[in-house]
């Protein structure tokens, strides 16, 4: 007695049809990649690309030793950078809270009209990087710290708003119902039913965004929006690579410290 011969004796994970489909997908991806690559490198000057290792060595040799005497000049811009990040975060959070309540399905006063508007605000703010916001604001309200703060605030609305409205939608409806049963008004329901539930998430999101904002505010000066980026731009313009090294080390240190602080705070809250 022999088993059914028409079955393949080797186990395979997928049917031939599925394998064919997957292979077609991969070939299409490779073709798309090659096409994009050719389109992208149409105007590339390959001489510069071949020259790059030499340039890298050249810049690297100019970057050491770091010019440590430059540090005192950097302290005030660093303070400005911290202020841009912190005040911008506060502003962004204040603006984001009402947007989040409008965008959450369970608290939005009019899901038909206001919710799409709030969602659009969130998407628009999220899709435009803070550097682009800064570029616009420097053109509009002039160079300086204020442009940086407003740029950070505008960018933070989307991030904080999105995470916060998701937190609001995940709240426990039973607690809200319990508050409603006491005859509480709409504002009281929000205040006693929803706010206590989202408070930890709110602080965690805010500190997380603050940490990201420190990172982003270090480069806002490249377009004139104040902070340590201004010094970076100035040093790059005069090719003072030793100063660039010092600035980069300082930025790296600040970012690591702020990340540690925000991780500690979030750990303590959650």
């Amino acid at each position: 007695m022999s088993g059914p011969e028409h079955h393949s004796q080797v186990w395979t994970y997928r049917t031939p049809r599925a394998r064919l489909l997957i292979w077609t997908g991969w070939v299409a991806l490779v073709a798309l990649f090659v096409w994009c690559w050719q389109l992208m490198t149409r105007d590339t000057i390959w001489f510069f690309v071949q020259d790059a290792p030499r340039q890298a060595v050249d810049i690297g040799s100019r970057m050491v030793p770091p010019r440590w005497e430059y540090v005192p000049e950097l302290l005030v811009p660093m303070w400005d950078t911290l202020n841009i990040a912190t005040l911008g975060t506060i502003g962004g959070v204040i603006l984001a809270v009402p947007v989040a309540f409008l965008a959450a399905r369970n608290t939005s006063p009019s899901p038909r009209l206001l919710r799409p508007i709030a969602l659009f605000i969130i998407v628009a703010s999220r899709s435009i990087n803070s550097l682009i916001w800064a570029l616009l604001l420097v053109a509009i309200i002039g160079p300086g710290i204020l442009a940086g703060i407003v740029a950070i605030a505008l960018r933070s609305i989307g991030f904080v708003g999105k995470l916060l409205y998701e937190a609001i939608e995940e709240t426990d409806p039973l607690q809200v119902e319990a508050i409603e049963a006491t005859g509480a008004s709409g504002a009281q329901v929000l205040n006693y039913g929803i706010v206590p539930q989202i408070m930890p998430a709110f602080w965690a999101i805010s500190t997380f965004r603050w940490d990201i904002n420190i990172r982003e505010s270090t480069i806002l000066g490249l377009v004139g929006a104040g902070g340590i980026g201004l010094k970076l731009q100035a040093s790059l313009n005069v090719l003072a690579w030793g100063q660039v090294t010092v600035i980069l080390i300082l930025i790296l240190g600040t970012v690591i410290v702020s990340e540690w602080v925000s991780a500690r705070i979030r750990h303590a809250i959650i």
């Binding site: 991806l29 798309l32 990649f33 994009c36 690559w37 389109l39 992208m40 490198t41 105007d43 590339t44 000057i45 510069f48 690309v49 790059a52 340039q55 890298a56 810049i59 303070w79 400005d80 202020n83 912190t86 005040l87 998407v123 628009a124 999220r126 899709s127 435009i128 990087n129 550097l131 682009i132 570029l135 616009l136 053109a139 509009i140 309200i141 002039g142 300086g144 710290i145 204020l146 006693y192 206590p196 408070m199 930890p200 602080w203 990172r215 982003e216 270090t218 480069i219 490249l222 377009v223 970076l232 790059l236 980069l248 930025i251 790296l252 970012v255 690591i256 809250i269």
Partner: protein
């Protein structure tokens, strides 16, 4: 015997900082910081007042975007951005897969683990824009420098998340494969890959989305793409063209976000 009077008013208990003294100290600290920080702001209100009129023009430009008059520049920038996004994501994913496997503690010996984690840390701690400045200085202006920047940034992001994912795989499946006498490569292929593949694809799509957003930024420092076009438009005070570019960016990001979340749902 008199009963202690029941409290008639209720105050909500503090949620986060429970100690009263700590709360007070925190509040004073925050207040002091705010006074200092706002005191050190130097705002030229005259300039801001002048700017408000410009701001109005910008809002008008945003409401009545002008796609036509700079269309050739805009479309060139867009093509650069989109091609840069795709190529850098593909290359970044290809490089970050081996690094991600190397950075998983349960897959490799300790020295390799440390080297790969080091690469990830370097790539994650540097801002895209700062990397772009250096790569533009080395490779010259244009989308090639942008492509390299985005690929480099993709490695840090994807390799870290992939490594964390591999460290959390179901060990029993890996042990089952090991028990068959499988080699290391077979282990990766049959125990790890099926477990992390859906997430890897999801993360790659998410990174595609991020790379497009970033490609709009690094153009400001000369790495090609739609950011360069936007920068030029703002420098020329052509707010209607700038508005058009911003609307295009928002539209593409929205499409990418919904598309990638749909695809991820479909794949999982």
């Amino acid at each position: 015997m008199s009963q202690p009077a029941y409290p008639t008013a209720w105050r909500r208990p503090p949620q986060i900082v429970k100690d009263r003294r700590w709360r007070l100290a925190l509040q004073i600290g925050i207040l002091a910081y705010l006074v200092l920080a706002i005191g050190s702001l130097e705002v030229n209100w005259e300039r801001v007042a002048i700017g408000l009129e410009r701001g109005q023009r910008f809002v008008m430009g945003f409401l009545q975007p002008d796609f036509a008059s700079r269309w050739s520049d805009i479309s060139r920038g867009l093509v650069e951005s989109l091609t840069m996004t795709l190529t850098s994501t593909v290359v970044g994913v290809l490089i970050s897969v081996p690094i991600g496997i190397g950075a998983a503690r349960n897959m490799v010996p300790r020295p390799i683990y440390l080297v790969c984690r080091g690469i990830i840390a370097v790539s994650r701690s540097l801002q895209e824009v700062i990397i772009a400045i250096f790569l533009v200085a080395m490779f010259g202006f244009g989308p090639f420098a942008g492509f390299l920047t985005l690929s480099f940034a993709t490695i840090g992001f994807l390799a870290k998340l992939l490594a964390d994912d591999i460290e959390e795989i179901d060990e029993t499946q890996a042990e089952a494969i090991r028990a068959t006498g499988a080699s290391w490569w077979q282990l990766v292929n049959y125990a790890v890959q099926p477990q992390v593949m859906p997430r890897l694809i999801g993360l790659s799509l998410y990174r595609l989305d991020i790379n497009f957003r970033e490609s709009a930024v690094i153009g400001i420092v000369g790495a090609g793409g739609i950011g360069a076009t936007l920068n030029t438009a703002i420098d020329r005070y052509e707010y209607d063209s700038a508005g058009a570019i911003l609307l295009i960016i928002i539209a593409i990001v929205m499409v990418a976000e919904y598309g990638s979340s749909y695809l991820r749902k479909f794949l999982q």
